[in-house]
């Protein structure tokens, strides 16, 4: 896989998630960051650091991206969310505008 097709997301604890670019674009915020016409650091490097999102949440978010792509292409499965991370996940979702 070419580097331009992937994006590196880094959690508060420093965990790096490398996901498909098109999965990352599910988030409007990420989309803006990665495609903004201005040349921000993120746009140029293809990596985004989230100092306020913890590793488990970011992991769940990444899972959601892929699930969402599947869902959009017609494969309707359930996306399971553990109750204890719900609040944090919602805040992250608001932030990422997904």
């Amino acid at each position: 896989m070419r580097k331009e097709d992937t994006v590196k997301l880094i959690s508060a604890e420093g965990f790096e998630f490398i996901i498909d670019r098109k999965a990352a674009l599910v988030s409007n915020t990420l989309k803006n960051m990665l495609t903004s016409s201005g040349s921000f650091t993120e746009t140029e490097l293809g990596e985004v650091r989230f100092p306020e999102i913890s590793t488990p949440i970011l992991e769940k978010v990444c899972q959601y991206f892929y699930w969402s792509l599947q869902f959009a292409s017609g494969k309707e499965t359930e996306f399971h969310i553990e109750p204890e991370i719900t609040l944090e996940l919602m805040m992250a979702a608001n932030y990422l505008h997904t």
């Binding site: 915020t29 993120e42 932030y95």
Partner: protein
């Protein structure tokens, strides 16, 4: 505060992060403000989108949206003022370029700012009904740059100046123009209209007003139209290159008004180059140009149409009233047809086959054809000429087109019954002399007349054809039955009285040789058709004579019955005076003179010699047989004066006959109408009768009145006893 007993659930706000660094908003805003400066300075690559987004996110989340928003407005305004100063400072031609490049930068910066403040756009702006960041940026640009005191007028002047320079032939930077107008459109169509379009249209109006004035003074109509067309296309092209598409209709309207509408009359009536001369010179391209240009303005086509119609009427009137033209009916009709062809072609190729133009053409033709009372006669003569000889060697389709064209002229005639009268006469002559070239053509014309005017119109004409056919059969029977070897051969056409334009009382003393065989035929015919009466129409017949001349030369002479009678006299005598001939033959003097004239006065074909020699026959003349007659051909045709246009007394006579024929038709129409209506007043009768008879002729109201009186006398109608204007039908 007293409360009801039952416990109310209360959701406490999430207290977790509330106690915050009081300097937090200040600090965060500082960060963002710095970032905005960096963005305007093209230093964004040092910035972390995530950090900025998070900062804005947090500010909005912690209810500092106001501060963020207002800060943005202030910072951006400050920047734009700075930019404005830079643009103002730009010299001359660089002004637009500077404006354009700053606009591009602003757009880009605005995009980035919007991206990092997206969260604010989503929540704060939506909740507090603020202007979204992007629009805010445009509004600020509009207010601080485009509408700033020092830029506003300069911008407009520069733009208008560029357009003007392009109009006068200079090449300008269209891409730059395009960007600037695009900028104005991006700021909203109201801005575009106010800041540019309206003054642009005013300037165009001034420009074209002046230019059209110059053009019209210096160029002729065709050139002017070419210039106008070019200008129009230029403006359309201009719009497509660098203006809003919506401006096209507005700017073309301006050009149309200034260049065309305001000068329309002048152009059309321009001497030596206006519409009239275009029409006469067949300038199809110029005419087409005029049509397409004038069609754009409201009364344009009507103007062309009126002038064309007036011109057509005038030339047509001259054509039909020209006494020179009336000498040759065939030429006369041919000219009419040519004129029609010409205008058909113009309308077809230049005027887009416009229906209203065709109507104008038709009404003009109808107008002037009927100006000349002899038109029906001439048209019939034209047909006669064509069917006699004109169509020889012409293909069937061409025959059809000629006939169709004639029918078209026929349609314009108001006095169709006059045409019928003449047509009948000419057809009779054609049929009896066996001169018709093509039976098919004759019949096809009859069919056309029938579809045009109905069965009644052609029934007699068709009767003539039937008579010809039955006569052929009769003759066959007659010739096979008798011994035809002896004496002269006879060909008889039995004509039904009424169908043919026969003149009764045509008399002449036939030579005895002929009389005997005529009697034989009479007996034969009456034996098969009892109860009929046969009269000889000697004025219509022809005869073939075999003659031997002085040097033994033999010729076969094809002559009319009258001429035959005259020539037969010279078997007994060599010299006869006019009186002798008249007495012996008993031919009416007018016909006699005409026959003698063709026998004695036509050079090269003079079978008789006349004393004294002169062109005309007088009662004292003496005729001798010319035995030195010579001709290259064995068969010699002595032409009588053929169907020519009528002489003045004949014309009056035909006219009277027509009037006479109209009487019963008018009466029949009156009776038909009153039979249906029972009671009707005078004016209505007149209009109804006119309507009914329109297809054949235009009845004169005075004549209608006379007919009504005659009908009252004969007790078909009566006047109402109370209201004298009413007529009542008496069953």
């Amino acid at each position: 505060m007293s409360r009801p007993k039952e416990k109310i659930f209360k959701i406490e706000p999430f207290k977790h992060k509330v106690e915050m660094d009081p300097r937090y908003p200040e600090r965060t805003w500082k960060l963002l403000e710095d970032a905005i400066h960096q963005i305007y300075n093209h230093n964004a690559s040092n910035l972390s989108f995530e950090e900025l987004y998070r900062s804005a996110y947090n500010m909005v989340l912690h209810k500092y949206g106001d501060k963020l928003y207002n800060g943005l407005v202030n910072t951006m305004t400050e920047h734009l003022r700075e930019i404005g100063r830079l643009i103002e400072a730009a010299q001359g031609g660089l002004f637009l370029e500077e404006l354009n490049s700053k606009w591009m930068e602003h757009n880009k910066a605005l995009q980035m700012i919007r991206d990092i403040l997206m969260y604010m756009d989503r929540t704060y702006v939506a909740n507090f009904n603020k202007t979204p960041v992007h629009e805010l940026g445009l509004n600020l640009w509009r207010d601080n740059i485009v509408r700033s005191l020092k830029i506003r007028d300069r911008l407009l002047d520069t733009l208008l100046d560029l357009v003007h320079r392009e109009r006068t032939g200079e090449v300008i930077n269209r891409g730059l123009m395009r960007n600037i107008t695009k900028m104005l459109m991006d700021l909203g169509s109201a801005v575009y209209q106010e800041e540019f379009e309206r003054p642009f249209l005013d300037a165009a109006a001034d420009f074209y007003k002046l230019e059209s004035q110059q053009f019209i003074e210096t160029s002729d109509c065709a050139d002017y139209l070419k210039k106008a067309e070019r200008r129009l296309n230029e403006e359309i092209e201009r719009v497509s290159h660098y203006l809003d598409a919506k401006s096209e209709s507005k700017i073309t309207a301006v050009v149309e008004k200034e260049m065309i509408f305001n000068h329309m009359k002048l152009l059309v009536e321009m001497e030596n180059s206006g519409l009239v001369s275009m029409l006469t010179d067949d300038k199809y391209n110029d005419l087409a140009r005029m049509y397409t240009l004038f069609r754009r303005v409201s009364t344009g086509l009507a103007t062309i149409r009126d002038v064309m119609s007036a011109h057509l009427r005038e030339t047509g009137r001259q054509l039909v009233m020209d006494p020179e033209r009336q000498k040759d009916p065939v030429e006369f009709v041919q000219r009419l047809l040519d004129e029609k062809d010409k205008y058909d072609k113009i309308i077809n190729s230049s005027f887009n086959n416009d229906k209203t133009f065709q109507n104008a053409l038709n009404s003009a033709f109808e107008y002037f054809i009927n100006l000349n009372v002899r038109s029906p006669e001439f048209i019939s003569l034209f047909v006669d000429d064509k069917l006699r000889k004109g169509l020889k060697g012409v293909s069937e389709e061409d025959v059809e087109t000629v006939l169709d064209k004639v029918m078209m002229l026929f349609r314009y005639l108001q006095e169709k019954d006059v045409f019928e009268k003449y047509y009948k006469q000419h057809l009779a002559k054609r049929l009896l002399s066996g001169r018709t070239v093509s039976d098919d053509a004759e019949r096809s014309l009859i069919v056309k007349l029938k579809t045009e005017c109905g069965y009644q119109f052609t029934s007699k004409l068709e009767g003539m054809f039937t008579d010809m056919k039955t006569s052929r059969d009769t003759m066959q029977g007659f010739n096979t039955g008798g011994d035809s070897n002896e004496g002269p051969a006879l060909a008889v056409q039995v004509l039904t009285t009424g169908s043919w334009p026969t003149q009764s009382g045509a008399r002449c003393n036939l030579p005895t040789e002929i009389l005997s065989i005529c009697d034989k035929f009479k007996a034969y015919y009456l034996s098969t058709h009892t109860g009929r009466r046969l009269t000889w129409q000697t004025n219509m017949g022809t005869a073939d004579l075999k003659a031997t001349f002085a040097n033994g030369q033999k010729h076969e002479l094809n002559v009319s019955t009258y001429q035959m009678c005259i020539l037969m006299l010279f078997n007994q005598a060599d010299s006869l005076s006019y009186k002798d001939v008249e007495q012996a033959t008993d031919i009416p003097s007018l016909d006699l003179k005409r026959s003698l004239q063709s026998l004695a006065c036509v050079k090269g074909k003079n079978l008789l010699r006349k004393e004294p020699m002169s062109k005309d026959i007088s009662e004292e003349d003496v005729f001798t047989f010319n035995d030195r007659f010579a001709s290259k051909f064995y068969k010699v045709k002595i032409s009588t004066v053929v169907a020519q246009k009528e002489s003045e007394p004949e014309k009056v006579e035909t006219r009277q006959k027509v009037e006479e024929d109209r009487k019963p038709q008018i009466e029949a129409a009156i009776v038909r109408i009153l039979k249906a209506r029972r009671v009707l007043d005078h004016n209505n009768i007149v209009s109804e009768v006119t309507k009914q008879l329109q297809a054949r002729f235009l009845p004169n109201p005075v004549v209608i009145k006379k007919r009504i009186e005659s009908l009252i006398e004969r007790e078909f109608l009566e006047r109402d006893k109370v209201d004298r204007k009413l007529y009542r039908y008496l069953a």
